[in-house]
Symmetry: C2
Subunit: 380 residues, 2 copies
């Protein structure tokens, strides 16, 4: 690399700014991770590297100031409806921890066909064979959890996993029924709740799962990377097993995971997150209303109907048709929305894209609906 190229690249690092600040946010990855005011305050307070560890005496989850110990050992288990909780770098890292602890390379696991890609990549890292329960396909992509039964019988999996809801359609499968199936077949059951924990009131024990996974940056109003992992006490000795040489260090977390500010944002936001799940019914109603209004414009909502989650997947053939005839191609939609103060569909997509209604209020969503209407008529 020439000095000139390097100097240009270095220059790009000064004055880093986010382009989408202050817009109405409909991006599904982000709507549940927007920081509370309390979390924004701790960003600066605990921003310096390793300053969360001022009072560490060897174990992150035992730190009393900031009160990690109370958070991990009291508040999180109560919130997740589980006996033991741990903090992770995120949902995917939680999945790998479980796979690496509970399986051997060559083992099989059974997962839903709507799983997040990281479920498969974590399984690849752990050397596992992934058996998928197919969905019902277009347009609803439902998972019938009874379809796990024959695959469990055939493949003798070391664990089963359900994505609840999945990140593509926002479908909420029958997690409780799968809990009964898991118990009947005596197979550990992992609920990937990256889009549930922090949005929906959800308790692991009510669903009969062995493990529950949450994502701080996706659904718990936290900076990333950051996640939570809940489990039945019977798994603690295996999943959170300690080093033989360093008796207070957990092997799977390499001693500790979230040694930094994302953990403190997770904690600072927690009181508000704990409260907001009580208003889930309003969120679900808002999503249904938004979906119906967009369908009136000619959009088609994929996934379960009536929809029970704020993550919505739409087909919008009229937008795709426009994109084929404009200079910006697929990016025209991103630009049109951005000009109106809206950020949501992934830049470049028009034919089908995902939106989340979680962070926007009804007035903002009405404005979004009007904006789509205006964009469509502008190009008609």
């Amino acid at each position: 690399m020439t000095k000139q190229v390097q100097s240009k690249s270095l220059g790009k690092l000064t004055n880093l700014r986010r382009l989408h600040k202050g817009l109405i946010n409909l991006m599904p990855l982000q709507t549940g991770g927007m920081l509370t005011d309390a979390a924004k305050e701790v960003l600066l307070e605990f921003g310096d590297g390793y300053c969360t560890c001022d009072f560490c005496s060897g174990s992150l989850s035992e730190i009393s100031n900031p009160p990690v110990r109370d958070f991990v050992h009291e508040l999180l288990p109560e919130f997740l409806g589980c006996e033991v909780a741990a903090i992770t770098h995120g949902a995917r890292e939680g999945k790998f921890i479980l796979m690496h602890s509970l399986t051997q390379p060559g083992d099989s696991i059974v997962v839903d066909g709507n799983k997040h890609y990281t479920t498969v990549v974590a399984a690849e890292r752990a050397g596992l064979k992934v058996i998928e329960v197919p969905s019902s396909g277009y347009p609803e992509f439902r998972i019938n959890v009874d379809d796990y039964v024959p695959l469990i019988g055939k493949h003798n999996p070391r664990l089963i996993l359900l994505t609840y809801p999945d990140g593509n359609y926002g479908n909420l499968s029958d997690a409780r029924r799968l809990g009964e199936i898991a118990q009947e077949h005596n197979v550990p059951y992992v609920l990937n709740g990256a889009y549930a924990v922090g949005r929906i009131p959800i308790r692991m024990e009510d669903l009969g799962a062995d493990f529950i996974i949450g994502s701080g940056h996706k659904s718990m109003a936290s900076a990333g990377p950051c996640g939570v992992l809940g489990m039945k006490k019977k798994w603690e000795g295996r999943v959170l097993r300690k080093s033989e040489l360093y008796s207070n260090k957990e092997i799977e977390s390499l001693g500790c995971t979230l040694r930094g500010v994302p953990l403190v944002t997770l904690m600072a936001s927690f009181p508000e997150v704990k409260e907001r799940v009580n208003h889930w019914d309003e969120q679900a109603a808002k999503a249904q209303w938004f979906s119906l209004e967009l369908e009136k414009l000619g959009f088609r909502q994929l996934g379960e109907k009536p929809h029970r989650h704020d993550l919505l997947h739409f087909e919008a053939s009229m937008l795709y048709d426009i994109s084929r005839n404009v200079r910006d191609k697929g990016y025209f939609l991103y630009k049109e929305l951005k000009e109106r103060g809206i950020w949501g569909p992934q830049p470049g997509l028009t034919r089908a894209f995902k939106l989340s209604t979680f962070a926007a209020d009804k007035d903002q969503l009405a404005f979004v609906i009007d904006s789509f209407k205006a964009i469509i008529s502008k190009y008609s």
Copy 2:
């Protein structure tokens, strides 16, 4: 848990404040991770969960805004003196990625006896046998890298690792000589530079290593958790191998690692970090001077002398003697220093503790020396 206990724990999460803000910081874990002003600004800008991924098209290291791509593919390799770079959750996660990629359970690795505990825990997680090159022991704890040779011959390790410097004594072993040894014996050589990268001018290729590991929160002025990993190009296909099903997703990083604000602090601080390593001679001289001054007070510096790193390990028998006769026991030192605006030795320690001179200027260090003097005379 009763409602009352839970409500008390929840209350602790409001108004989280750091106790050691604004003090003269001598805590070795923290002195290299204090944020630059530029990094503080991006904390709020990119604090919301997943907002670093606004323009992700499937691979974190290819994001152009913020300019992750330039950082990872141009600036980092040049800075680390390597051909290929990646970002990680931290040094320990970088070590596990390498062990998991390059070894099989049951294999052996050879590491220095001064290694960080996470080297051993990462090896346990990967199912490896760890062979240690013993140090010279008290008081200097030097590692003679020629001692790797017989152990390589005897154990046929899949990789060798040197901690440079180690985090206990701040010793800088002959990393270059070990590079020659590694090449002679054709064994992959990992340099754990968690306390070097971002402090010392260091180039992997000059030392003959195959891999170099750095820590953002320890030595690169970043929020945690955050790290870097450099390597020779010949290892890229193995360590950064892609998923069979998701061709742009790296398996060892589970698709991506640092999907959050610590990465942006690492990038924002980078221009300053790149510059500050040029002043390493002044840092080393400052550490030597500080060590000599404390030795005049009766402290004994362990590790190499003259010392070549800001991480210093002291024995202070006179402080230990005091601690045995005061109400606060070992905590008296922490309190006495804190009252004087100084934060450094781990709370509770007096007999032996570590300090780092990296973040304090000479005037501040002179004040620290005077403070130790005053504390000793106060109790004499």
